[in-house]
Symmetry: C2
Subunit: 517 residues, 2 copies
């Protein structure tokens, strides 16, 4: 069938679609969700069909930006279309829906089509949901998916050894461990090409924190250059296509609050940067996704098993996650605290302890006798600070930056204790909501600083934490959340009552505990 | 945040969306798939967010036709937007993903949001997939879904008794039973407000067949008027919103070849037309979805159980589906055959037998002693023909139409037997492919007519079937399929070999066996 091309001015983030009139769809015997092959002068592509009753007249084919760009069309250009069969990978998706285990070939087909946008939103969602509903992919499937995701992405291609990496599955506010671990490791001669994510639901991601100090949205070529100069980097992983299928899977998993592709997602990106040694941090406890260390051990074993198959020596550290790491929560405030700690200008014992274990584990995996000691020594000696400044410089930031240069929001709201006692619990999720309402991670000055932590004795009237923002309306929104939620539980002894149920409880937070990847 | 409105000229069939720049999305802390509340002068709505890197500049909000129309905007109009929370129904979807049984309130919330377009394609697909992967909804859930789908749709509101209905889950080519059953029933004084579907993957749906005789795309008010005049009607159900959620669910289920919402889909529409008595035809056998009568009995029991809960007396007829009903396959050719049979101008024994059982069951449910006999008598006496002509007249068709007025494609391709023997099998799926390639259901003259049926003795050279089309290129395409597929298996005895496997077999047809609803 011959149609005229129309540019719709919409992109879908890699999933090309076309829209045609109901009459033309009926004529061709196609319906919404089917595929159409579009042939233009010298080029051809396949796209998923959207059927229009009203906005597209008979004889016209509306095109998403992806299709338009690929075919290099001009408005009204003549094109020829025909129904395209369903991709092979859809058969594999349907097999998965039937509960079958999929082979490497099946998974590779699916990942190929996901990357090329050949599977519709419905089909990707069904694949992800089926994996989840069937208790998660098997280890063979996890391995097949991981390999496929590496093979369909870019690779860093460093010619160095050993290359190490670290990852945290997240869940703890204020976790600025990476900002110290990368320079510690790099200062000791190991190569650590670190990519990080931005916050989705948390108060700040490592990329948000690092961005306070230096540009993080840089190309893979730039990243490689920085690592070759300094042994390390801190780069936003979102734009460098290490495992492009992952972005598509995450768009399906995230609204559903499920993550059956967690392991392939993380490990494919580690493989793509060439990691040979990896430590995975699994924060555990109330307020994180991993409620018990048994759960964390189980997840850790899966990481190690997959690492073995992929040729990445992997160890895990299961860490306390019941309260923020350090005192600061919020992108800029955390960077400030991390910088202060690495410059030996303040003492943040839990942060330094965590860095010593994460970095120490990596160091011992590559031959050090006492890794934790070596890590602490790298900080104390100033080597780590020097290395951080090198990385900042190479990534285009101000290598002379001092903690006080990082501004804190000019409006503050203090929360005080209404009784004497000991801090028994701190509600991580409420702290995150408060920091986000205050403006983090976008407003780098926004967030909060704790005055007390778990186990601290407090008197009535003592400061518990201060919320900061540069905008009064954001501070007011954060204040409202702080006032409505008992963030700190201060008591003399464990009280038995958690809460009473008087009406049907709200069952779900917006995006409950998504592991980071 | 204040933005300017831009019309995108794309509709999504009821799922409103907006597209905004990555910068604005980051500023508001929203991502693709989240919801945005859009406030314009005097109106407000919520839409799902698509994030654009390229085609939408900062400060602009692109809108799908649904949003644009609802807000009555003009190009460049000032609008105010803010992040909207996730709908309550998404919590229920997530509960389902965790394997929980959902309450009526949960299901109602989901169906409400499905109808209003508040759940994204990903979320609807996940819901449908989870229902399927967990072994289908429980009967309580089926009932909750069915009620919710009735309550969110239109109802016919006939003030008559008794109202009866029939449904076939499909799968047999050439099944023109409804074209005779409706006039038979209506001629005997019962009310049968029949809605039907068009073909999706079959050679013709009942709406396609009926359309050869009369307009079927009529409003619900028109439908009601026709039924009040004649006791019956034959209307396309696709545009009258009896259970609008169903259209959305089908768009997710269809590409996945799953149908966990089959029962609610069918039964909600029966309830919406006020049916008190229902017979469900379940064609069974090779070439249909129901491979054994045990499977069919199981499905039938579910229909009856659900019918009981919904106040619809339901019985099922399990029928042979190994070969086409009658001789004609293709929208117009089937209408011609049905008209010829109801006019007593030709003898199609299996068609009349099936009608006598389907109509007869309904008649006996409402008090007749021998329903099959009454049904046959209605045909023989000419009462059914008279009633059909009344319905045709009231729906705006030519009530004087004769079988020969319905044209058959002027080009034909004959297929002859290459050996002596008995017809042992006829491949329904190949016949459907051939009829569709010839142009059915769109080209009403296209299709095929069998010369032999199962059990018939044939001699080498005997005509088996003839393919008809009005277009030589379509006939050629159909001929190719006919030549490549052994549609008829003619042999002297059951031969043991089915086929050999020499390479990995193609595992999936395009849309394998979707039950009709």
């Amino acid at each position: 069938m011959k149609l005229r091309a129309k540019y719709l001015g919409i992109e879908t983030g890699g999933r090309p679609f076309v829209t045609l009139s109901r009459d033309d769809a009926y004529d061709m015997g196609v319906m919404g969700g089917d595929r159409l092959k579009v042939n233009a002068k010298g080029a051809s592509t396949t796209a998923i069909i959207n059927v229009s009753v009203k906005s597209i007249p008979k004889g016209v084919l509306g095109m998403s930006d992806e299709v338009w760009t690929k075919l290099k069309l001009s408005q009204g250009a003549a094109i020829e279309v025909e129904p395209a069969g369903t991709p092979d990978s859809l058969s594999a998706v349907r097999e998965k829906l039937r509960g079958r285990k999929l082979s490497y070939e099946d998974m590779r087909r699916i990942v190929d089509d996901v990357v090329q946008g050949n599977l519709s939103e419905t089909e990707v969602a069904a694949f992800v949901t089926a994996l989840h509903a069937q208790g998660g992919p098997s280890m063979d499937e996890v391995y097949s998916l991981s390999l496929s995701m590496v093979e369909t992405g870019k690779q860093l291609g460093l010619k160095r050894k050993p290359i190490v990496d670290k990852h945290s599955v997240g869940g703890v506010p204020g976790d600025k461990t990476t900002l110290l671990t990368v320079p510690v490791i790099a200062s000791l001669g190991l190569t650590i090409p670190k990519t990080s994510s931005r916050a989705i639901t948390s108060a700040a991601g490592t990329a948000d924190r690092a961005e306070t100090l230096m540009p993080v949205d840089i190309s893979i070529e730039e990243m490689k250059r920085v690592v070759e100069k300094t042994n390390g980097c801190m780069v936003w992983g979102g734009a460098i296509s290490l495992a492009p299928a992952d972005d598509v899977f995450i768009r399906a998993e995230f609204p559903l609050s499920i993550d059956p592709l967690l392991l392939p997602s993380i490990m494919s990106k580690k493989k793509a940067v060439g990691a040979q040694y990896l430590v995975v941090d699994i924060p555990t406890g109330k307020g994180t996704k991993m409620k018990s260390s048994a759960d964390s051990d189980h997840l850790g074993k899966e990481f190690m098993e997959l690492g073995k198959r992929m040729g990445i020596h992997t160890q895990c550290v299961v860490t306390y996650g019941d309260q923020p790491v350090g005192y600061a929560v919020g992108a800029g405030l955390e960077a400030r605290e991390a910088l202060s700690a690495i410059c030996n200008k303040s003492n943040i014992p839990d942060l330094i302890d965590k860095v010593s274990h994460v970095a120490g584990t990596l160091l011992e995996m590559t031959g050090y006798k006492n890794g934790a000691k070596a890590a602490i020594e790298a900080i104390k000696s100033g080597k780590a600070e020097k290395k951080l400044r090198e990385i900042i410089y190479q990534q285009g930031g101000d290598s002379e930056v001092q903690p006080d240069d990082i501004e804190i929001g000019k409006y503050g709201y203090e929360v005080h204790s209404d009784r004497d006692g000991v801090v028994l619990t701190i509600d991580n999720a409420s702290l995150v909501s408060i920091a986000r309402a205050a403006g983090s991670p976008k407003d780098k000055q926004a967030g909060l600083i704790l005055a007390k932590k778990l186990g601290d004795r407090v008197k009535k009237g003592d400061l518990l934490y201060t919320v900061y923002s540069d905008k009064t309306h954001k501070l007011a929104a954060a204040q409202k959340i702080a006032d409505e939620n008992g963030v700190f539980n201060v008591a003399d002894k464990r009280e038995m009552m958690i809460h009473t149920l008087k009406e049907a409880p709200v069952r779900d937070r917006k995006h409950p505990f998504i592991l980071e990847r």
